[in-house]
């Protein structure tokens, strides 16, 4: 039983990280139906920039804030310089732009910062909590908490505020959105800025658990994307559940099946989920009619 809880805690921690990244994907998706493959780079910027600002003598909390701001600036730059000017580019073309941006950011990070890995101290110490005989780090609790709060805020924003609805409307039908007076350019820009901040926050939170380096965004971005898809694109709750499903699948596969094939098992599970829920667990489906 202890064993099970240990696997579960691992899955929850990792899953919450994936969820936090997935929320960034969903945010941009909600405003523009775009998949931003540079989302993982925001996570990288969050961690790396905090490390380097701190190394430059800035207090850690301030360094983290600056890192988040830097990610926002980068996100805004991607939107302004990459996405906004690309009129008439297909959906896949826009994805290629975000992939290009990711390569560019990664390249710059490797030059401006370095190609080493770096860690940050945890927020509340490293003394593990023991629950049901299994251990859990306080940092995990921080990650759960922040993820839950952000998911709640996003849910409130999209479900309850007109601004949130305007953001989704922009994605559903940009032409109609303009015709009802929504400044679609601003909406998409804001979604990028928020996603940048979210990604960077994730980076700040996970670096104490898993060191960051200039290429850390590749795999984290991939897992975050998978979480967003399994949960259903655009759904905050979906991002969380999707993240946890994948995190727990990985942990249980490593624990009970085969650690060598745990990633493969996780992806098999993702495929099964997609077959059963073709638009993700909480994704919109069936609104198309003729």
């Amino acid at each position: 039983m202890t064993e099970f809880f240990q696997f579960l805690f691992s899955g929850l921690t990792v899953g919450a990280i994936y969820a936090l990244i997935a929320l960034g994907f969903s945010l941009i998706y909600n405003a523009s139906h775009l998949i931003n493959f540079a989302q993982g780079e925001f996570v990288m910027i969050g961690g790396m920039a905090t490390v380097f600002f701190a190394a430059a003598g800035i207090e850690l909390p301030l360094a983290a804030v600056l890192a988040v701001l830097l990610a926002v600036v980068v996100a805004v730059a991607i939107e302004r310089l990459g996405i906004a000017p690309a009129k008439g580019t297909s959906a896949v073309g826009l994805i290629i732009i975000t992939i290009g941006a990711a390569i560019l950011i990664r390249g710059l990070a490797g030059i401006v910062w370095d190609r080493n890995f770096h860690s940050l101290p945890p927020i509340s110490g490293e003394e593990p909590l023991v629950i049901m005989g299994a251990t859990l780090l306080p940092q995990s609790l921080w990650i759960f908490g922040v993820t839950a709060v952000i998911a709640l805020l996003l849910w409130f924003f999209f479900a309850k505020t007109l601004w949130g609805k305007a953001m989704m409307a922009t994605a559903y039908n940009p032409l109609a959105a303009q015709l009802v007076g929504i400044d679609t350019r601003k909406v998409v820009l804001v979604s990028f800025a928020l996603a940048g901040a979210l990604g960077a926050l994730a980076g700040v939170l996970i670096t104490p658990l898993a060191p960051t380096h200039f290429q850390v965004g590749v795999m984290l971005g991939l897992k975050g994307f998978a979480a967003a898809i399994v949960g259903g694109l655009g759904s905050g709750l979906g991002a969380i559940v999707g993240g946890l499903v994948i995190g727990i699948a990985e942990a249980m596969a490593a624990g009970y099946l085969s650690s060598a094939y745990k990633d493969a098992v996780a992806f098999v599970i993702i495929l099964l989920f997609l077959v059963l829920w073709p638009s993700g667990l909480f994704g919109l489906r069936g609104i198309e009619r003729v």
Partner: protein, 357 residues
Amino acid sequence: AEPIRIGSFLAVTGPAAFLGDPEKKTLELYVEKINAEGGVLGHPLELVLYDTGTSAKNAVTFVKRLLEQDRVDAIIGGTTTGETMAVIKLVEKAERPFISLAGASVIIDPVKKWVFKTPHTDRMAVEKVYADMKKEGVTEIGLIGGSGGFDKSCLKNAEELAGSYGLTIKATEQYGKGDTDMTPQLTKIRNAGVQAVLFCGFGAASTIVTKNYAQLGLEGRLYHNHGSCSKRFIEGAGAAAEGVRLPCAALVVADQLPEDDPQRAVGLAYIEAYEAAYGEEVSTFGGHAYDALFLLVGAIERAGGADPAAVRDALERTRNFIGVDGIFNMSPEDHLGLGPEAFKMLEVRGGNWKYLY
């Protein structure tokens, strides 16, 4: 005078960037230094260096480019075993001396006429660890490593060698690319009942495994292989790293070596130069590149020029070359020339390396 052209292909980016980056920096630093001091035999060195992105396919293309287009006199590179193995046929056919920076022993065993290497083999690292385990009275162990070539080669050697040191492997676990938590794997190892664990990997995973090990409160010592010989590891893992043992090149503890140890001076000089130039800590991987470059320079000097065949022969006759990885004595049967004594056993104590033996 005509420059002597040294070609290089390294994994400056991609999964092995952590290894390739210091290799690149080292080569660039010392080529510049050598040229500033008048070059080799009066010829300046010209370094042609390509980033493979840790891809064997790119390695092949770049080596062809080095051979055909850049017409280099010798090649240093191949950060990973895959990149190295993929190009061996090419350099053998082109008959150009080639010094690999990758770990696996297959590179030089069996011996290939034009191929040399500088890093200790991962087999040697495992042997060093196993010897220590045996000395500590350990008989049952667990293994954990990543899915990359470096990790898997270490795991494979560990499995093959265990018997000869009287060790039983109770559990072998793996983690995936970019994983952020390895507690499930370590839980399984713990449940298997082991007295010590060997970690086969490098980079961020070193830190994560060590922290998770402490979090779960595993008993018995955690050993790392030489992939963790970096101060970053201690910094990242913090208190969790205390008591970890691992085999490293002398370079890592150059300042703790006895005054009369010939490697001390070489190591300290390299550390000073590298850290002054880049403001970051040296790594043993950069050290492989250092040794490769100076082995090559020495051979060129002895050969009296860059003629490939002569340089190759001279390389093969390298005696008592004091590098940061150890003391090299090459022969037609041994294109590495390092003995197991090249590894030093270290332990993390008080947030620093402690040189044991």
